[in-house]
Protein backbone atom coordinates (compact mmCIF):
# COMPACT_ATOMS: atom_id res chain seq x y z
CA UNK A 1 0.00 0.00 0.00
CA UNK A 2 2.77 2.31 0.92
CA UNK A 3 4.47 1.59 -2.29
CA UNK A 4 1.28 1.88 -4.16
CA UNK A 5 0.60 5.16 -2.57
CA UNK A 6 4.06 6.33 -3.32
CA UNK A 7 3.70 5.02 -6.77
CA UNK A 8 0.37 6.69 -7.24
CA UNK A 9 1.61 9.88 -5.78
CA UNK A 10 4.63 9.88 -7.94
CA UNK A 11 2.58 9.12 -10.98
CA UNK A 12 0.25 11.93 -10.15
CA UNK A 13 3.17 14.22 -9.56
CA UNK A 14 4.65 13.22 -12.85
CA UNK A 15 1.31 13.76 -14.50
CA UNK A 16 1.02 17.11 -12.85
CA UNK A 17 4.52 17.97 -13.90
CA UNK A 18 3.58 16.99 -17.39
CA UNK A 19 0.43 19.00 -17.18
CA UNK A 20 2.37 21.90 -15.78
CA UNK A 21 4.52 21.67 -18.86
CA UNK A 22 1.63 21.65 -21.24
CA UNK A 23 0.32 25.11 -20.52
CA UNK A 24 3.68 26.83 -21.12
CA UNK A 25 4.00 24.80 -24.27
CA UNK A 26 0.50 25.79 -25.29
CA UNK A 27 1.19 29.36 -24.28
CA UNK A 28 4.36 29.28 -26.32
CA UNK A 29 2.38 27.81 -29.17
CA UNK A 30 0.14 30.77 -28.93
CA UNK A 31 2.85 33.34 -28.64
CA UNK A 32 4.62 31.71 -31.55
CA UNK A 33 1.44 31.88 -33.54
CA UNK A 34 0.83 35.48 -32.65
CA UNK A 35 4.48 36.23 -33.32
CA UNK A 36 4.22 34.58 -36.70
CA UNK A 37 1.21 36.71 -37.35
CA UNK A 38 3.04 39.83 -36.24
CA UNK A 39 5.98 38.95 -38.43
CA UNK A 40 3.74 38.26 -41.39
CA UNK A 41 1.96 41.50 -40.61
CA UNK A 42 5.25 43.34 -40.50
CA UNK A 43 6.24 41.83 -43.81
CA UNK A 44 3.00 43.04 -45.31
CA UNK A 45 3.42 46.42 -43.67
CA UNK A 46 6.91 46.73 -45.09
CA UNK A 47 5.56 45.94 -48.52
CA UNK A 48 2.83 48.53 -48.06
CA UNK A 49 5.33 51.17 -47.02
CA UNK A 50 7.72 50.27 -49.80
CA UNK A 51 5.09 50.29 -52.54
CA UNK A 52 3.48 53.51 -51.36
CA UNK A 53 6.83 55.23 -51.38
CA UNK A 54 7.88 53.67 -54.68
CA UNK A 55 4.50 54.66 -56.06
CA UNK A 56 5.22 58.18 -54.86
CA UNK A 57 8.49 58.16 -56.77
CA UNK A 58 6.72 56.93 -59.88
CA UNK A 59 4.19 59.71 -59.40
CA UNK A 60 7.12 62.13 -59.37
CA UNK A 61 7.81 60.96 -62.91
CA UNK A 62 4.80 63.01 -63.94
CA UNK A 63 6.66 66.08 -62.78
CA UNK A 64 9.63 64.76 -64.71
CA UNK A 65 7.67 64.23 -67.89
CA UNK A 66 6.02 67.64 -67.56
CA UNK A 67 9.40 69.32 -67.31
CA UNK A 68 11.06 67.38 -70.10
CA UNK A 69 8.17 67.95 -72.45
CA UNK A 70 7.81 71.62 -71.55
CA UNK A 71 11.54 72.29 -71.61
CA UNK A 72 12.17 70.66 -74.97
CA UNK A 73 9.37 72.50 -76.77
CA UNK A 74 8.57 76.15 -77.38
CA UNK A 75 7.41 78.64 -74.79
CA UNK A 76 4.19 79.35 -76.61
CA UNK A 77 2.92 75.85 -75.89
CA UNK A 78 4.15 75.40 -72.36
CA UNK A 79 0.93 75.91 -70.41
CA UNK A 80 -0.79 73.51 -72.76
CA UNK A 81 1.82 70.83 -72.22
CA UNK A 82 1.63 71.26 -68.48
CA UNK A 83 -2.14 71.01 -68.54
CA UNK A 84 -1.97 67.89 -70.67
CA UNK A 85 0.43 66.25 -68.28
CA UNK A 86 -1.55 67.24 -65.23
CA UNK A 87 -4.77 66.00 -66.76
CA UNK A 88 -3.06 62.77 -67.76
CA UNK A 89 -2.40 61.86 -64.18
CA UNK A 90 -5.78 63.20 -63.00
CA UNK A 91 -7.74 61.26 -65.58
CA UNK A 92 -5.37 58.35 -65.01
CA UNK A 93 -6.26 58.19 -61.33
CA UNK A 94 -9.98 58.36 -61.95
CA UNK A 95 -10.23 56.13 -64.97
CA UNK A 96 -7.87 53.49 -63.71
CA UNK A 97 -10.05 53.38 -60.61
CA UNK A 98 -13.24 53.27 -62.63
CA UNK A 99 -12.28 50.87 -65.39
CA UNK A 100 -8.57 50.29 -65.95
CA UNK A 101 -7.93 48.11 -62.92
CA UNK A 102 -10.97 46.00 -63.72
CA UNK A 103 -9.77 45.32 -67.24
CA UNK A 104 -6.22 44.63 -66.12
CA UNK A 105 -6.65 42.68 -62.92
CA UNK A 106 -10.30 41.62 -63.01
CA UNK A 107 -11.51 38.07 -63.58
CA UNK A 108 -9.97 36.81 -66.83
CA UNK A 109 -12.23 36.67 -69.87
CA UNK A 110 -10.96 34.39 -72.61
CA UNK A 111 -7.31 35.05 -71.80
CA UNK A 112 -7.69 38.50 -73.30
CA UNK A 113 -8.82 40.89 -70.61
CA UNK A 114 -10.15 41.13 -67.11
CA UNK A 115 -13.66 42.12 -66.22
CA UNK A 116 -14.56 42.64 -62.60
CA UNK A 117 -13.76 44.92 -59.67
CA UNK A 118 -14.92 48.03 -61.50
CA UNK A 119 -14.60 51.03 -59.18
CA UNK A 120 -12.38 48.79 -57.03
CA UNK A 121 -15.50 47.20 -55.64
CA UNK A 122 -14.73 45.05 -52.64
CA UNK A 123 -11.29 46.59 -52.18
CA UNK A 124 -9.35 46.25 -48.96
CA UNK A 125 -6.01 47.73 -47.98
CA UNK A 126 -4.07 45.22 -50.04
CA UNK A 127 -6.09 46.15 -53.08
CA UNK A 128 -5.65 49.86 -52.47
CA UNK A 129 -1.95 49.37 -52.13
CA UNK A 130 -1.71 47.36 -55.31
CA UNK A 131 -4.06 49.69 -57.15
CA UNK A 132 -2.05 52.72 -56.15
CA UNK A 133 1.21 51.28 -57.41
CA UNK A 134 -0.38 50.08 -60.67
CA UNK A 135 -2.28 53.33 -61.15
CA UNK A 136 0.83 55.51 -61.22
CA UNK A 137 2.21 53.18 -63.87
CA UNK A 138 -0.92 53.37 -65.97
CA UNK A 139 -0.89 57.14 -66.04
CA UNK A 140 2.77 57.06 -67.06
CA UNK A 141 1.88 55.21 -70.23
CA UNK A 142 -0.40 58.02 -71.30
CA UNK A 143 2.07 60.76 -70.54
CA UNK A 144 4.51 59.34 -73.04
CA UNK A 145 2.06 60.05 -75.80
CA UNK A 146 1.60 63.67 -74.80
CA UNK A 147 5.28 64.38 -75.42
CA UNK A 148 5.32 63.03 -78.94
CA UNK A 149 2.18 64.91 -79.90
CA UNK A 150 3.18 68.19 -78.29
CA UNK A 151 2.64 71.64 -79.82
CA UNK A 152 -0.17 70.80 -82.23
CA UNK A 153 -2.76 68.51 -80.67
CA UNK A 154 -6.25 69.59 -79.77
CA UNK A 155 -6.58 69.57 -75.99
CA UNK A 156 -9.98 67.91 -75.86
CA UNK A 157 -8.90 65.21 -78.31
CA UNK A 158 -5.89 64.47 -76.17
CA UNK A 159 -8.05 64.09 -73.07
CA UNK A 160 -10.30 61.61 -74.80
CA UNK A 161 -7.33 59.61 -76.00
CA UNK A 162 -5.81 59.54 -72.53
CA UNK A 163 -9.04 58.21 -71.13
CA UNK A 164 -9.17 55.41 -73.66
CA UNK A 165 -5.54 54.51 -73.20
CA UNK A 166 -5.91 54.18 -69.46
CA UNK A 167 -9.26 52.42 -69.73
CA UNK A 168 -8.48 49.93 -72.47
CA UNK A 169 -5.25 50.05 -74.47
CA UNK A 170 -2.91 49.91 -71.49
CA UNK A 171 -4.79 47.47 -69.25
CA UNK A 172 -5.48 44.91 -71.97
CA UNK A 173 -1.81 44.42 -72.71
CA UNK A 174 -1.13 44.73 -69.00
CA UNK A 175 -3.57 41.88 -68.44
CA UNK A 176 -1.66 39.67 -70.84
CA UNK A 177 1.54 40.24 -68.92
CA UNK A 178 0.94 41.09 -65.31
CA UNK A 179 -2.52 39.84 -64.36
CA UNK A 180 -1.24 36.51 -63.09
CA UNK A 181 -4.30 34.89 -64.66
CA UNK A 182 -3.85 31.30 -65.71
CA UNK A 183 -4.78 32.10 -69.26
CA UNK A 184 -3.10 35.47 -69.46
CA UNK A 185 -2.02 35.60 -73.08
CA UNK A 186 1.72 36.08 -72.63
CA UNK A 187 2.40 34.76 -69.17
CA UNK A 188 -0.32 32.38 -68.03
CA UNK A 189 0.58 28.73 -67.66
CA UNK A 190 -2.48 27.84 -69.67
CA UNK A 191 -1.79 30.26 -72.52
CA UNK A 192 -0.99 28.78 -75.92
CA UNK A 193 1.72 31.39 -76.43
CA UNK A 194 3.53 30.30 -73.32
CA UNK A 195 3.07 26.65 -74.19
CA UNK A 196 4.38 27.04 -77.72
CA UNK A 197 7.36 29.16 -76.70
CA UNK A 198 8.11 27.02 -73.71
CA UNK A 199 8.69 30.01 -71.51
CA UNK A 200 6.70 32.76 -69.92
CA UNK A 201 7.10 36.33 -71.16
CA UNK A 202 9.01 38.44 -68.65
CA UNK A 203 8.56 42.18 -68.41
CA UNK A 204 9.74 43.02 -64.93
CA UNK A 205 8.65 46.63 -64.58
CA UNK A 206 7.20 47.47 -67.94
CA UNK A 207 9.57 48.06 -70.86
CA UNK A 208 6.65 46.58 -72.72
CA UNK A 209 3.56 47.17 -70.63
CA UNK A 210 4.27 50.84 -69.98
CA UNK A 211 6.89 52.08 -72.41
CA UNK A 212 6.29 50.12 -75.60
CA UNK A 213 2.57 50.67 -75.30
CA UNK A 214 3.06 54.38 -74.79
CA UNK A 215 5.74 54.64 -77.44
CA UNK A 216 3.93 52.85 -80.26
CA UNK A 217 0.60 54.46 -79.49
CA UNK A 218 2.53 57.73 -79.79
CA UNK A 219 3.86 56.61 -83.16
CA UNK A 220 0.33 55.98 -84.36
CA UNK A 221 -0.61 59.38 -83.03
CA UNK A 222 2.09 61.39 -84.74
CA UNK A 223 1.45 59.64 -88.03
CA UNK A 224 -2.18 60.66 -88.02
CA UNK A 225 -1.39 64.05 -86.59
CA UNK A 226 1.40 65.04 -88.93
CA UNK A 227 4.47 67.12 -88.13
CA UNK A 228 4.45 70.59 -86.61
CA UNK A 229 4.35 73.44 -89.10
CA UNK A 230 7.89 74.16 -90.16
CA UNK A 231 9.31 70.86 -88.98
CA UNK A 232 10.01 69.73 -92.52
CA UNK A 233 11.08 72.02 -95.35
CA UNK A 234 11.01 70.27 -98.70
CA UNK A 235 11.03 67.00 -96.83
CA UNK A 236 14.13 67.90 -94.88
CA UNK A 237 13.80 67.91 -91.10
CA UNK A 238 14.29 71.33 -89.52
CA UNK A 239 15.35 72.23 -86.06
CA UNK A 240 12.87 73.58 -83.51
CA UNK A 241 14.81 74.09 -80.29
CA UNK A 242 13.17 73.70 -76.90
CA UNK A 243 12.79 76.76 -74.75
CA UNK A 244 14.30 75.73 -71.44
CA UNK A 245 17.09 73.19 -71.08
CA UNK A 246 17.13 73.54 -67.31
CA UNK A 247 13.56 72.31 -67.07
CA UNK A 248 14.46 69.46 -69.39
CA UNK A 249 17.41 68.35 -67.30
CA UNK A 250 15.59 68.70 -64.01
CA UNK A 251 12.86 66.58 -65.55
CA UNK A 252 15.32 63.90 -66.56
CA UNK A 253 16.79 63.73 -63.06
CA UNK A 254 13.32 63.48 -61.54
CA UNK A 255 12.46 60.72 -64.00
CA UNK A 256 15.63 58.88 -63.10
CA UNK A 257 14.76 59.10 -59.43
CA UNK A 258 11.24 57.98 -60.23
CA UNK A 259 12.68 54.90 -61.88
CA UNK A 260 14.08 53.84 -58.55
CA UNK A 261 10.48 53.36 -57.51
CA UNK A 262 9.45 52.06 -60.90
CA UNK A 263 11.97 49.24 -61.02
CA UNK A 264 12.75 48.87 -57.34
CA UNK A 265 9.11 48.60 -56.41
CA UNK A 266 8.29 46.11 -59.12
CA UNK A 267 9.29 43.16 -57.00
CA UNK A 268 5.95 44.03 -55.37
CA UNK A 269 7.43 42.72 -52.13
CA UNK A 270 9.21 44.80 -49.53
CA UNK A 271 11.23 41.79 -48.44
CA UNK A 272 12.46 40.68 -51.85
CA UNK A 273 16.18 41.34 -51.65
CA UNK A 274 16.47 41.41 -55.42
CA UNK A 275 15.18 44.95 -55.38
CA UNK A 276 18.84 45.79 -54.87
CA UNK A 277 19.94 44.09 -58.03
CA UNK A 278 17.12 45.80 -59.87
CA UNK A 279 18.11 49.23 -58.62
CA UNK A 280 21.83 48.77 -59.18
CA UNK A 281 21.21 47.63 -62.75
CA UNK A 282 18.80 50.51 -63.30
CA UNK A 283 21.40 53.09 -62.39
CA UNK A 284 24.14 51.41 -64.38
CA UNK A 285 22.03 51.25 -67.53
CA UNK A 286 20.89 54.86 -67.21
CA UNK A 287 24.43 56.09 -66.84
CA UNK A 288 25.64 53.95 -69.70
CA UNK A 289 22.83 55.16 -71.95
CA UNK A 290 23.70 58.78 -71.30
CA UNK A 291 27.40 58.32 -71.87
CA UNK A 292 26.77 56.39 -75.07
CA UNK A 293 24.39 59.00 -76.45
CA UNK A 294 26.76 61.80 -75.52
CA UNK A 295 29.72 60.18 -77.21
CA UNK A 296 27.71 59.47 -80.33
CA UNK A 297 26.57 63.05 -80.73
CA UNK A 298 30.07 64.24 -79.91
CA UNK A 299 31.45 62.14 -82.73
CA UNK A 300 28.75 63.20 -85.17
CA UNK A 301 28.58 66.97 -84.68
CA UNK A 302 31.78 67.60 -82.79
CA UNK A 303 29.91 68.67 -79.70
CA UNK A 304 28.25 66.66 -76.92
CA UNK A 305 24.54 67.31 -77.31
CA UNK A 306 22.67 68.02 -74.09
CA UNK A 307 19.13 67.08 -75.03
CA UNK A 308 20.13 63.80 -76.68
CA UNK A 309 22.36 62.95 -73.74
CA UNK A 310 19.37 63.52 -71.51
CA UNK A 311 17.38 61.23 -73.79
CA UNK A 312 20.20 58.72 -73.40
CA UNK A 313 19.50 58.53 -69.67
CA UNK A 314 15.87 57.77 -70.39
CA UNK A 315 16.80 55.28 -73.10
CA UNK A 316 18.92 53.32 -70.67
CA UNK A 317 16.17 53.44 -68.07
CA UNK A 318 13.46 52.26 -70.44
CA UNK A 319 15.61 49.45 -71.76
CA UNK A 320 16.63 48.13 -68.35
CA UNK A 321 13.06 48.23 -67.06
CA UNK A 322 12.28 44.72 -68.23
CA UNK A 323 15.61 42.98 -67.57
CA UNK A 324 16.82 44.81 -64.45
CA UNK A 325 16.02 41.94 -62.10
CA UNK A 326 17.33 39.21 -64.38
CA UNK A 327 20.74 40.23 -65.64
CA UNK A 328 24.23 40.84 -64.35
CA UNK A 329 25.69 44.30 -63.85
CA UNK A 330 27.87 44.19 -66.92
CA UNK A 331 24.86 43.23 -68.99
CA UNK A 332 22.96 46.20 -67.63
CA UNK A 333 25.76 48.44 -68.83
CA UNK A 334 25.74 46.83 -72.26
CA UNK A 335 21.97 47.15 -72.45
CA UNK A 336 22.27 50.82 -71.53
CA UNK A 337 24.95 51.52 -74.11
CA UNK A 338 22.93 49.93 -76.86
CA UNK A 339 19.87 51.85 -75.72
CA UNK A 340 21.88 55.06 -75.96
CA UNK A 341 22.75 54.18 -79.52
CA UNK A 342 19.18 53.21 -80.32
CA UNK A 343 17.78 56.48 -79.09
CA UNK A 344 20.22 58.43 -81.21
CA UNK A 345 19.58 56.32 -84.29
CA UNK A 346 15.87 56.20 -83.59
CA UNK A 347 15.51 59.97 -83.39
CA UNK A 348 17.39 60.36 -86.66
CA UNK A 349 15.45 57.56 -88.32
CA UNK A 350 12.09 58.95 -87.26
CA UNK A 351 12.88 62.34 -88.69
CA UNK A 352 14.84 61.40 -91.75
CA UNK A 353 13.12 58.21 -92.87
CA UNK A 354 9.68 58.00 -91.32
CA UNK A 355 9.34 61.78 -91.51
CA UNK A 356 7.40 61.85 -88.31
CA UNK A 357 7.78 64.67 -85.82
CA UNK A 358 8.29 63.74 -82.20
CA UNK A 359 9.50 66.87 -80.40
CA UNK A 360 10.87 65.10 -77.34
CA UNK A 361 11.97 61.78 -78.80
CA UNK A 362 9.29 59.80 -76.99
CA UNK A 363 8.93 57.18 -79.70
CA UNK A 364 12.63 56.40 -79.82
CA UNK A 365 12.99 56.44 -76.04
CA UNK A 366 9.89 54.55 -75.02
CA UNK A 367 8.99 52.62 -78.14
CA UNK A 368 12.30 51.47 -79.60
CA UNK A 369 14.19 51.19 -76.34
CA UNK A 370 11.19 49.49 -74.78
CA UNK A 371 11.33 46.84 -77.45
CA UNK A 372 15.07 46.55 -76.98
CA UNK A 373 14.57 46.03 -73.26
CA UNK A 374 12.13 43.20 -73.87
CA UNK A 375 14.51 41.49 -76.26
CA UNK A 376 17.42 42.07 -73.88
CA UNK A 377 15.64 39.88 -71.35
CA UNK A 378 15.81 37.05 -73.87
CA UNK A 379 19.49 37.68 -74.50
CA UNK A 380 21.08 38.50 -71.16
CA UNK A 381 18.89 36.78 -68.58
CA UNK A 382 20.81 34.59 -66.22
CA UNK A 383 17.81 32.35 -65.68
CA UNK A 384 15.93 32.20 -62.40
CA UNK A 385 17.79 30.17 -59.82
CA UNK A 386 21.11 30.38 -61.63
CA UNK A 387 24.15 32.32 -60.49
CA UNK A 388 23.23 35.72 -59.08
CA UNK A 389 19.57 34.77 -59.35
CA UNK A 390 19.95 32.02 -56.79
CA UNK A 391 16.97 32.49 -54.50
CA UNK A 392 15.18 34.93 -56.79
CA UNK A 393 11.43 34.52 -57.04
CA UNK A 394 10.57 37.16 -59.62
CA UNK A 395 12.83 37.19 -62.65
CA UNK A 396 12.87 35.83 -66.18
CA UNK A 397 12.31 32.11 -65.82
CA UNK A 398 14.56 30.73 -68.48
CA UNK A 399 18.11 31.74 -69.37
CA UNK A 400 18.73 34.03 -72.32
CA UNK A 401 20.58 33.42 -75.54
CA UNK A 402 23.94 34.19 -73.98
CA UNK A 403 23.38 31.50 -71.42
CA UNK A 404 22.29 28.95 -73.96
CA UNK A 405 18.53 29.36 -73.70
CA UNK A 406 16.29 30.04 -76.68
CA UNK A 407 12.76 29.76 -75.30
CA UNK A 408 12.94 32.92 -73.26
CA UNK A 409 14.14 34.83 -76.28
CA UNK A 410 11.35 33.42 -78.40
CA UNK A 411 8.65 34.46 -76.00
CA UNK A 412 10.24 37.89 -75.60
CA UNK A 413 10.10 38.40 -79.35
CA UNK A 414 6.46 37.41 -79.35
CA UNK A 415 5.64 39.68 -76.43
CA UNK A 416 7.56 42.58 -77.92
CA UNK A 417 5.75 42.19 -81.23
CA UNK A 418 2.43 41.91 -79.44
CA UNK A 419 3.09 45.24 -77.75
CA UNK A 420 4.04 46.93 -80.99
CA UNK A 421 1.07 45.62 -82.90
CA UNK A 422 -1.50 46.11 -80.19
CA UNK A 423 -0.44 49.62 -79.27
CA UNK A 424 0.06 50.75 -82.83
CA UNK A 425 -3.16 49.35 -84.24
CA UNK A 426 -5.29 50.31 -81.27
CA UNK A 427 -3.65 53.73 -81.37
CA UNK A 428 -4.35 54.17 -85.07
CA UNK A 429 -7.99 53.26 -84.64
CA UNK A 430 -8.57 55.40 -81.60
CA UNK A 431 -6.74 58.43 -83.01
CA UNK A 432 -8.53 58.13 -86.33
CA UNK A 433 -11.88 57.98 -84.59
CA UNK A 434 -11.01 60.95 -82.44
CA UNK A 435 -9.82 62.83 -85.49
CA UNK A 436 -13.15 62.25 -87.17
CA UNK A 437 -15.31 63.06 -84.20
CA UNK A 438 -13.40 65.86 -82.46
CA UNK A 439 -10.51 66.77 -84.71
CA UNK A 440 -7.08 65.73 -83.55
CA UNK A 441 -5.18 68.79 -84.62
CA UNK A 442 -5.55 72.47 -83.96
CA UNK A 443 -5.86 74.87 -86.86
CA UNK A 444 -2.78 76.30 -88.52
CA UNK A 445 -3.50 79.70 -87.07
CA UNK A 446 -3.80 78.29 -83.58
CA UNK A 447 -0.57 76.38 -83.98
CA UNK A 448 1.28 79.49 -85.11
CA UNK A 449 -0.19 81.56 -82.34
CA UNK A 450 0.67 78.87 -79.80
CA UNK A 451 -1.64 76.58 -77.90
CA UNK A 452 -1.28 78.49 -74.65
CA UNK A 453 -3.23 81.43 -75.97
CA UNK A 454 -5.62 79.56 -78.17
CA UNK A 455 -6.43 76.61 -75.92
CA UNK A 456 -6.10 78.22 -72.51
CA UNK A 457 -6.11 81.94 -73.04
CA UNK A 458 -2.87 82.49 -71.17
CA UNK A 459 0.82 82.87 -71.70
CA UNK A 460 3.09 80.72 -69.59
CA UNK A 461 5.63 83.51 -69.13
CA UNK A 462 3.73 86.74 -69.66
CA UNK A 463 6.52 88.99 -68.42
CA UNK A 464 9.44 87.67 -70.36
CA UNK A 465 10.13 89.12 -73.75
CA UNK A 466 10.58 86.20 -76.12
CA UNK A 467 11.52 85.84 -79.74
Amino acid sequence: MEKNRIYLLTSILVMLALLSLTPPIAAQEESIESLTESVDGLGTALTFVWLLLCGGLVFLMHAGFSLVEAGFTRAKNTANILMKNLMTICLGVLIYWLVGWAIMYGENVGGIFGFSQFCLSGADNSTWNAWFFQMVFAATGATIVSGAMAERTNFKAYLVFTGLLVAIIYPVYGHWVWSGADFALLTGDGSWVVQICGASFHDFAGSGVVHSIGGYAALAGVIILGPRLGKFKNGKPQVIPGHNITFGFLGVLLLWLGWLGFNGGSTLDGSDAFMNLAVANTFLAAAAGAVAAMILTWMKTGKPDPSLTANGVLAGLVAITAPCGSVENWAAIVIGIIAGAIVYAGVMFNEAVLKVDDPVGAIAVHGYCGTWGLLAVGIFSVGMGNGILDGAVYAAGAPGLLYGGVNQFMVQVVGALAAIIWAFVAGLIVFKLIDIVIGLRVSEREELEGLDITEHGIRAYPEYITE
Binding site: G230, L448, I453, H456, G457, I458, R459, I465, T466, E467
Partner: protein, 115 residues
Protein backbone atom coordinates in the same frame (compact mmCIF):
# COMPACT_ATOMS: atom_id res chain seq x y z
CA UNK B 1 27.41 109.78 -101.29
CA UNK B 2 24.15 107.94 -101.33
CA UNK B 3 21.26 109.23 -99.23
CA UNK B 4 20.41 106.62 -96.62
CA UNK B 5 17.10 105.68 -95.08
CA UNK B 6 16.18 103.50 -92.16
CA UNK B 7 13.08 101.42 -92.78
CA UNK B 8 11.37 100.43 -89.57
CA UNK B 9 8.71 97.81 -90.08
CA UNK B 10 6.49 96.58 -87.28
CA UNK B 11 5.01 93.25 -88.29
CA UNK B 12 3.30 90.18 -86.86
CA UNK B 13 5.81 87.82 -85.22
CA UNK B 14 4.41 84.89 -87.12
CA UNK B 15 5.10 86.66 -90.41
CA UNK B 16 8.69 87.35 -89.57
CA UNK B 17 10.27 84.28 -91.14
CA UNK B 18 8.48 84.94 -94.38
CA UNK B 19 9.47 88.59 -94.49
CA UNK B 20 13.05 87.69 -93.70
CA UNK B 21 13.20 85.19 -96.56
CA UNK B 22 11.64 87.62 -98.96
CA UNK B 23 14.09 90.36 -98.03
CA UNK B 24 16.97 87.94 -98.41
CA UNK B 25 15.73 86.88 -101.80
CA UNK B 26 15.40 90.51 -102.82
CA UNK B 27 19.02 91.04 -101.84
CA UNK B 28 18.51 92.78 -98.50
CA UNK B 29 20.32 90.53 -96.13
CA UNK B 30 21.27 93.02 -93.46
CA UNK B 31 18.76 93.84 -90.80
CA UNK B 32 18.29 94.40 -87.12
CA UNK B 33 15.35 92.87 -85.36
CA UNK B 34 13.77 93.38 -81.97
CA UNK B 35 10.74 92.17 -80.14
CA UNK B 36 8.30 94.92 -79.24
CA UNK B 37 4.71 95.23 -78.17
CA UNK B 38 2.30 97.38 -80.03
CA UNK B 39 -1.18 98.74 -80.28
CA UNK B 40 -2.93 100.22 -83.26
CA UNK B 41 -6.41 99.80 -84.53
CA UNK B 42 -6.21 96.17 -83.60
CA UNK B 43 -8.38 95.25 -80.65
CA UNK B 44 -6.34 93.60 -77.95
CA UNK B 45 -6.34 89.92 -77.23
CA UNK B 46 -8.71 88.54 -74.64
CA UNK B 47 -6.76 86.39 -72.24
CA UNK B 48 -7.74 84.87 -68.93
CA UNK B 49 -6.16 84.36 -65.55
CA UNK B 50 -7.65 82.38 -62.76
CA UNK B 51 -11.06 82.24 -64.37
CA UNK B 52 -11.26 85.95 -65.11
CA UNK B 53 -10.99 87.35 -68.62
CA UNK B 54 -9.06 90.48 -69.43
CA UNK B 55 -7.85 92.25 -72.48
CA UNK B 56 -4.17 92.55 -73.28
CA UNK B 57 -4.03 95.56 -75.55
CA UNK B 58 -0.34 95.57 -76.29
CA UNK B 59 0.34 92.65 -78.54
CA UNK B 60 3.72 91.15 -79.34
CA UNK B 61 5.11 92.46 -82.59
CA UNK B 62 8.41 92.15 -84.35
CA UNK B 63 10.23 95.26 -85.44
CA UNK B 64 12.64 95.07 -88.34
CA UNK B 65 15.11 97.78 -89.13
CA UNK B 66 16.80 97.88 -92.49
CA UNK B 67 19.05 100.71 -93.50
CA UNK B 68 19.34 101.14 -97.23
CA UNK B 69 20.14 103.76 -99.83
CA UNK B 70 17.34 106.03 -100.77
CA UNK B 71 16.85 104.32 -104.09
CA UNK B 72 16.22 100.93 -102.50
CA UNK B 73 13.54 102.16 -100.14
CA UNK B 74 10.66 101.44 -102.46
CA UNK B 75 11.81 97.96 -103.11
CA UNK B 76 12.21 97.11 -99.45
CA UNK B 77 8.87 98.63 -98.55
CA UNK B 78 7.22 96.68 -101.29
CA UNK B 79 8.78 93.40 -100.29
CA UNK B 80 7.77 93.86 -96.67
CA UNK B 81 4.30 94.99 -97.49
CA UNK B 82 3.71 92.08 -99.81
CA UNK B 83 4.83 89.43 -97.42
CA UNK B 84 3.70 90.83 -94.09
CA UNK B 85 0.15 91.70 -95.07
CA UNK B 86 -2.61 89.30 -94.13
CA UNK B 87 -5.40 91.79 -94.69
CA UNK B 88 -6.68 91.73 -91.17
CA UNK B 89 -6.17 94.42 -88.63
CA UNK B 90 -2.85 94.23 -86.84
CA UNK B 91 -0.58 93.79 -89.85
CA UNK B 92 1.56 96.70 -88.76
CA UNK B 93 3.29 99.74 -90.15
CA UNK B 94 6.38 100.74 -92.00
CA UNK B 95 8.16 103.97 -91.16
CA UNK B 96 10.92 105.47 -93.29
CA UNK B 97 13.37 107.64 -91.44
CA UNK B 98 16.22 109.69 -92.78
CA UNK B 99 19.72 108.58 -91.84
CA UNK B 100 22.44 111.14 -91.96
CA UNK B 101 25.45 108.93 -91.73
CA UNK B 102 26.19 105.23 -91.68
CA UNK B 103 29.45 103.82 -90.38
CA UNK B 104 30.66 100.24 -90.50
CA UNK B 105 32.34 99.69 -87.17
CA UNK B 106 34.76 97.06 -88.40
CA UNK B 107 36.32 99.22 -91.09
CA UNK B 108 35.12 102.71 -90.51
CA UNK B 109 33.66 102.82 -94.02
CA UNK B 110 30.86 105.31 -94.39
CA UNK B 111 27.46 105.43 -95.99
CA UNK B 112 26.98 103.53 -99.21
CA UNK B 113 29.97 101.33 -98.60
CA UNK B 114 28.84 100.66 -95.09
CA UNK B 115 25.72 98.73 -95.97
Amino acid sequence: MAEMRKIEAIIRPMKFEEVKSALTDAGFVSMTVMEVRGRGQQKGLVQQWRGREYCVDLLPKTRIEVVVSERDVDKVVEVIQNTAATGSIGDGKIFVIPVERTIRIRTGEEDGEAI
